[in-house]
C-alpha cells in the first residue's frame, strides 16, 4: 500500500515532500526511494534533490517546471514506490583508534555509563549505523542506531578545535567530524580516513542510505593508515549489506 506524503512549499523554488516526523529506518528508506524515482524522471526543471530523515527537499527551477507539473511527478513517484525494490545498501568500514590521544573523552564516557572502556569500545564498534542523511557540514553523516547503553551528554563547553576524523558521542547519537571544527561531542576515537575531499567524485565517503561500521585499530595501525591515506594509497573496505 502506498503512503501519501505531505507536500509543503519552501518558497517559490523548493518543495518539501514529507513522510511524517519520526526518525525511523522504513520512513528514511521511503524518502531515498522517492528521490531515486524522481531523479530517474530526469525532468530538466529539477535542480537538486536533498534527502533528509523523513522528507525530501526538491530544489526546482520554476521557469522550467510549474508547481502543478512537479506535484504530478512527485505523486506519481510516490504511488509507484512500493513496486520498486530498494537497492542493496553499502557498509563502509571506518578504521578507528579508540581512547588515549585519539579519544580523550573515552574514559569519561565509560565512567558516565558505568561500563569498562573495553565494553564501550565493543558496544560502539559492534553496531552498524545507518546514514540517515548528510548535513551540518560538508561530508557529515547523521548516523542512527547507536546503543543507548553508551549514550553520554554533550560537553558543557564545546572544544574550540576538534580534529578531522574525530569520532564522538552526543546523547544517543554517534558521529564523525569530516573536517576540523569547533564541537561539543564527547570524543571517543579518531579515524585517519577522510570523510570529505572536495577533489574526489563524489566528495563525501558516505551517502544517505549507506551503513557505517567502526573497526577498532591500534595506534600503530592508525599512523600507518594515516600515511597511506595521505598518499592516496588507502580506501576503506566497502561491503554489500545482505
Amino acid at each position: 500500500m502506498s503512503v501519501t506524503p505531505r507536500l509543503l512549499a519552501a518558497g517559490d523554488r523548493a518543495l518539501v515532500v514529507e513522510y511524517g516526523d519520526a526518525i525511523a529506518e522504513p520512513i528514511n528508506a521511503r524518502v531515498r526511494g522517492l528521490a531515486a524515482l524522481i531523479e530517474r524522471s530526469a525532468h530538466p526543471g529539477l535542480v537538486e534533490l536533498v534527502p533528509t530523515y523523513r522528507s525530501l527537499m526538491i530544489h526546482y527551477d520554476p521557469l522550467v517546471v510549474s508547481p502543478g507539473e512537479l506535484e504530478a511527478i512527485v505523486r506519481d513517484a510516490a504511488a509507484r514506490l512500493d513496486e520498486v525494490a530498494a537497492p542493496a545498501s553499502r557498509v563502509v568500514e571506518i578504521p578507528t583508534a579508540y581512547g588515549g590521544e585519539f579519544g580523550p573523552d573515552l574514559a569519561a564516557v565509560a565512567a558516565h555509563v558505568r561500563l569498562s572502556v573495553d565494553e564501550v569500545i565493543a558496544t560502539h564498534a559492534g553496531g552498524e549505523y545507518l546514514v540517515y542523511m548528510m548535513g551540518f557540514m560538508p561530508g557529515f553523516p547523521y548516523l542512527g542506531g547507536m546503543s543507548p547503553r553508551i549514550a553520554a551528554p554533550r560537553m558543557g563547553t564545546p572544544r574550540t578545535v576538534v580534529p578531522a576524523g574525530a569520532v564522538g558521542i552526543a546523547g544517543e547519537q554517534t558521529g564523525i567530524y569530516p573536517m576540523k571544527s569547533p564541537g561539543g561531542w564527547r570524543l571517543i576515537g579518531r579515524t585517519p580516513v577522510r570523510l570529505f575531499d572536495v577533489t574526489a567524485p563524489p566528495p563525501a565517503l558516505v551517502a544517505a542510505g549507506d551503513y557505517v561500521r567502526f573497526v577498532p585499530v591500534s595506534a600503530d595501525e592508525f599512523h600507518d593508515l594515516d600515511r597511506r591515506v595521505r598518499v592516496g594509497a588507502f580506501s576503506p573496505t566497502v561491503r554489500k549489506r545482505p
Binding site: L8, A9, A10, G11, D12, R13, A14, V16, E18, D21, A22, I23, V47, E48, L49, V50, P51, T52, Y53, R54, S55, L56, M57, H59, P62, L63, P67, M133, M134, G135, F136, M137, P138, G139, F140, Y142, P178, M179, F196, V198, T199, P202, P203, A204, A207, A208
Partner: protein, 457 residues
C-alpha cells in the same frame, strides 16, 4: 569631463580582428570581505556541501549580462568596504548591487552598465552609499578553478574561489579572455529598474514549510511587526531582532532541507533568514521563505535595516520571479551605441556625485580635514558594528595604517586604521559601543594640512 578619459577606450577599442586577451586583476587592498562568487555549487547538497554563491544573485547575473558573460560566470562579491584593485589590460567591467561609490583612477565609475576600462587603471570604492554588497564582473569572468562545479568561495571550509578565502593584498586573479566586439556595445540596466535598497523594506514570503508549528498569535506577530537586521549577520544568515514569535511546542524539528531565503525561527523566537552559505539541512522551524525576487533586499540590508514580512502565494512569488527575469532579459537587449552610452555616463556620474558627495567623502574610511596649520581628522566607522577594543589613547602618536580600534561586524573583527600618520587628540567611542556607518570614532591631528581628497585614487 576629464574623467571620461579613463573609460575612453570604449571608443578607441583595439582594432577588430585582434585576438582576445587574458588579463589580470591585482589586489592592492582586499577590503572588508571580497570573495569570488558565481551562482553557487549545485548538486552536492546531498553530501552536506552548502550552495554558497552570490548573496544577491540578481545583481551578480545583471553584472555578468552587462559585460556579455553567461549568468553563471564568477564575479567579485564586495562587502561594504570595497577593495582597491589594479587591472592589467583593457577590460569591460560592470559594477552592480550596493552603491559603494566605485571609482576608476579617482573618477566615479557609473554602476549598472558596462564600462570599458583601460589597462593600468585602478579601481577602488570610496564608501557605502546604499546597500551592502556590490558585484564586480569582468568580461570573460574570473578564472579561479572550479571546485565541485563552482567557482564560489566557501570560506568556512576554505574551498572554492581564490584559495578558499577572501581576497587580500598581493592576490592576483586571472580574467579569462573574452571576445572584443568589432562594434563596441555598452549595455546598461534600464534606469527605472536600478534598485534602491534604503533603510527599510517589505519582504514578501511564502508561508511554510513549518508555519503550522506556530501559534495563531505567533504567525500574526511575524506578519505584523517590524524586524531590524542585527550585526550578527553574515553569508550564512541574516538575523533580525524584534517581537518574539511564539511556537506551539518548541523550535526543534527533525532536521530537514533548507531553501535560500528560509526564515528560521529558533528558540528565542526571532527570525534568521538563511542565505548563501546556509547549512544544507537544519533542525529549527522555518515559518516562511522569502521569495526569490526579494532576496536582493535581504542581501543588501545593512545592520539597522528594518523589514516587514508580507505573505504571498507561490504563484504570486513565481510571477515576481518572472518579472525579475524580464528585467535581466532587457539588459541583453539593451546594447547601445557607445556615443549615447558616454552621454548617459556623464549624466549619471554628475547626479551620483551630487547625491552621494557627502556620504562618499565622509565614509571614505573617513577623514575630514579642518582648516589650520594643524589639521584635525575624524576617523569614522566604515561599517555598522560593535566596538570591541580601542587600541590607542589620547596623545599617542600613530603611523599611517596603524590599527586604531577594532569593530566587529558580520562576526569578523575589522581593524580601523589611521588614514595617515598623526597624533590622537580624542577617542570618541569605547569598547562595547554599537556604532553606525559614519559615526566619528577617533579624532587625530597632523602637522600639516592635507590638500588631497580623502580618497587618493
Amino acid at each position: 569631463m576629464t574623467s571620461i578619459g579613463a573609460f575612453g577606450s570604449a571608443r578607441s577599442a583595439r582594432p577588430s580582428g585582434s585576438g582576445p586577451e587574458v588579463s589580470w586583476l591585482d589586489v592592492l587592498d582586499g577590503g572588508l570581505l571580497t570573495t569570488v562568487q558565481d551562482l553557487g555549487r549545485i548538486g552536492a547538497q546531498r553530501y552536506g556541501v552548502p550552495v554558497s554563491g552570490a548573496m544577491d544573485p540578481f545583481a551578480l547575473r545583471a553584472a555578468n549580462r552587462l559585460v556579455g558573460n553567461a549568468d553563471g560566470l564568477a564575479a567579485l562579491e564586495i562587502t561594504l568596504v570595497g577593495p582597491d584593485v589594479h587591472l592589467s589590460e583593457d577590460v569591460t567591467v560592470a559594477v552592480t548591487g550596493a552603491d559603494l561609490a566605485p571609482h576608476v583612477d579617482g573618477a566615479p565609475l557609473p554602476m549598472w552598465q558596462a564600462v570599458r576600462v583601460r589597462g593600468g587603471s585602478r579601481l577602488s570604492f570610496a564608501g557605502v552609499r546604499d546597500g551592502m554588497r556590490a558585484y564586480l564582473a569582468a568580461a570573460g569572468g574570473f578564472a579561479v578553478p572550479r571546485v565541485l562545479g563552482s567557482r564560489s568561495t566557501f570560506t568556512r571550509a576554505a574551498f572554492g574561489g581564490h584559495e578558499g578565502r577572501a581576497l587580500r593584498s598581493g592576490d592576483r586573479l586571472r580574467i579569462d579572455a573574452a571576445p572584443v566586439p568589432a562594434q563596441p556595445v555598452t549595455r546598461r540596466l534600464l534606469r527605472e529598474a536600478v534598485p534602491r535598497y534604503g533603510h527599510a523594506s517589505s519582504l514578501r514570503v511564502v508561508l511554510g514549510p513549518q508555519d503550522d508549528a506556530f501559534t495563531e498569535d505567533g504567525l500574526a506577530t511575524f506578519l505584523r511587526e517590524t524586524y531590524t537586521l542585527t550585526p550578527q549577520s553574515d553569508r550564512i544568515g541574516c538575523r533580525f531582532s524584534g517581537a518574539r514569535i511564539t511556537h506551539r511546542a518548541g523550535a526543534d524539528i527533525v532536521s530537514d532541507g533548507t531553501a535560500f531565503g528560509a526564515v528560521q525561527i529558533t528558540g528565542d523566537g526571532l527570525p534568521i533568514v538563511l542565505m548563501a552559505d546556509r547549512g544544507t539541512t537544519g533542525g529549527y522551524t522555518k515559518i516562511a521563505t522569502v521569495v526569490t525576487a526579494d532576496l536582493p533586499r535581504v542581501a543588501q540590508s545593512a545592520p539597522g535595516h528594518r523589514v516587514h514580512f508580507v505573505a504571498v502565494t507561490v504563484a504570486e512569488a513565481q510571477c515576481l520571479l518572472r518579472e525579475q527575469e524580464q528585467i535581466l532579459d532587457a539588459i541583453s537587449e539593451s546594447a547601445v551605441e557607445p556615443d549615447s552610452a558616454a552621454t548617459v555616463y556623464e549624466e549619471d556620474s554628475a547626479s551620483a556625485l551630487l547625491a552621494g558627495a557627502f556620504t562618499a567623502f565622509a565614509a571614505a574610511l573617513g577623514t575630514t580635514t579642518a582648516a589650520g596649520a594643524r589639521a584635525a581628522h575624524i576617523v569614522r566607522a566604515p561599517m555598522p558594528g560593535l566596538v570591541v577594543s580601542v587600541l590607542v589613547s589620547p596623545g599617542e602618536a600613530v603611523d599611517e595604517k596603524q590599527p586604531l580600534l577594532v569593530i566587529e561586524a558580520m562576526k569578523m573583527q575589522n581593524p580601523v586604521r589611521a588614514p595617515r600618520a598623526g597624533r590622537i587628540a580624542r577617542t570618541l567611542v569605547s569598547a562595547g559601543d554599537t556604532v553606525d556607518t559614519g559615526r566619528p570614532l577617533v579624532e587625530f591631528e597632523t602637522d600639516r594640512q592635507e590638500m588631497g581628497t580623502p580618497h587618493d585614487g
